[in-house]
């Protein structure tokens, strides 16, 4: 009789242990999945916003010459126009957001190319460009998360600041 009840208790204990093992495994897997999801979400947020802003700010810095950085509205779209002169010919780099993408169009001035001809750079819902003052550009981006960046134009600064 005692032997039967001892075996029963062992069996019950084993079943409980098995359940504990199962629940713990599930908990570990769920925790891992949750952490992975969080990390992925943060990475996407950082990538979507910061990479686009870094791209625009680098482009502006490269072309930061007096009168060469302008913001225009073409067909209702904010367009950042960066000009450069090569062999007496003016070339324009246009950066704008269209059809859910940031696009770049590099062409000779007055080439007749439209905004639809630009090449896609990355995904973006909206891009607002504002010239806050002569020497300050405001870039607002709506993608995974809203992001904002100010870019001071050194070439347009009234003083030789450093």
């Amino acid at each position: 009789m005692n032997r039967i009840s001892g075996t029963g208790v062992s069996l019950l204990f084993m079943i409980l242990l098995f359940f504990a093992l199962g629940i713990s495994s599930l908990f570990v897997v769920l925790t891992g999945a949750h952490v992975y999801e969080n990390i992925n979400h943060r990475m996407e947020e950082n990538f979507g916003g910061q990479i686009a802003l870094s791209y625009i700010s680098n482009k502006v810095r490269q072309s930061d010459e007096k009168g060469r950085v302008t913001v225009e509205k073409i067909a209702g779209t904010d367009v950042l126009v960066l000009e450069e002169e090569i062999d007496d010919t003016i070339y324009q780099t246009m950066i704008y957001c269209q059809d859910g993408h940031i696009k770049e169009l590099y062409s000779e001035e007055g080439s007749g190319l439209s905004l639809a001809d630009g090449i896609e750079i990355m995904d973006c819902d909206r891009l607002h460009l504002t010239r806050v003052s002569d020497n300050l550009l405001k870039v607002e981006l709506e993608s995974e998360a809203a992001d904002l960046m100010y870019i001071a134009l050194r070439s347009e600064s009234g003083r030789g600041d450093e």
Partner: protein, 143 residues
């Protein structure tokens, strides 16, 4: 001759307990690694956002023609050369009560018309800044 008094079920139980213990140790290590990864990711996201915030403030400081910082940037408090702005967990502008992060700028006038701005970002519950950026600007002779 040693006689084995243990039944098969008892040996299996012992083996099972060892397996569970081994699993518990491994799970503890795994969860601590997951938590560490999560915390590194949070810190990285916080640092990226702080960098952008400090960079924006620095660009506005650079762009303003005078020593005033609030020409282009919105501050919540300005006193004794300290400019303070409050931000929530998502780095959106908020009130002092709901703030999780504080951006503070200290201005120091240096020689020959140079102004130095020390941009610091704090967590509200910490006294030391986790991100600092120093910017100098020549404003010329003001008199």
């Amino acid at each position: 001759m040693i006689r084995n008094n243990y039944s098969k079920s008892q040996i299996f139980l012992l083996e099972f307990i060892i397996v569970v213990l081994f699993f518990a140790i491994c799970s503890t290590i795994c969860i601590s690694v997951f938590m560490e990864a999560d915390s590194i990711s949070k810190e990285s996201s916080r640092n990226v956002n702080s960098l952008v915030l400090a960079q924006n403030a620095a660009e506005c400081f650079k762009a303003s023609e005078s020593a005033d910082l609030d020409d282009y940037y919105d501050f919540d408090e300005i006193k004794d050369g300290h400019y303070i702005a409050y931000y929530d967990g998502k780095f959106d502008s908020t009130t002092e009560e709901n703030a999780e992060y504080i951006l503070k700028i200290d201005l120091n006038e240096m020689d020959e018309g140079v102004i130095s701005a020390e941009i610091s970002i704090f967590e509200t519950n910490e006294k030391t800044a986790f991100y600092k950026l120093n910017v100098d600007k020549y404003i010329g002779e003001q008199n």
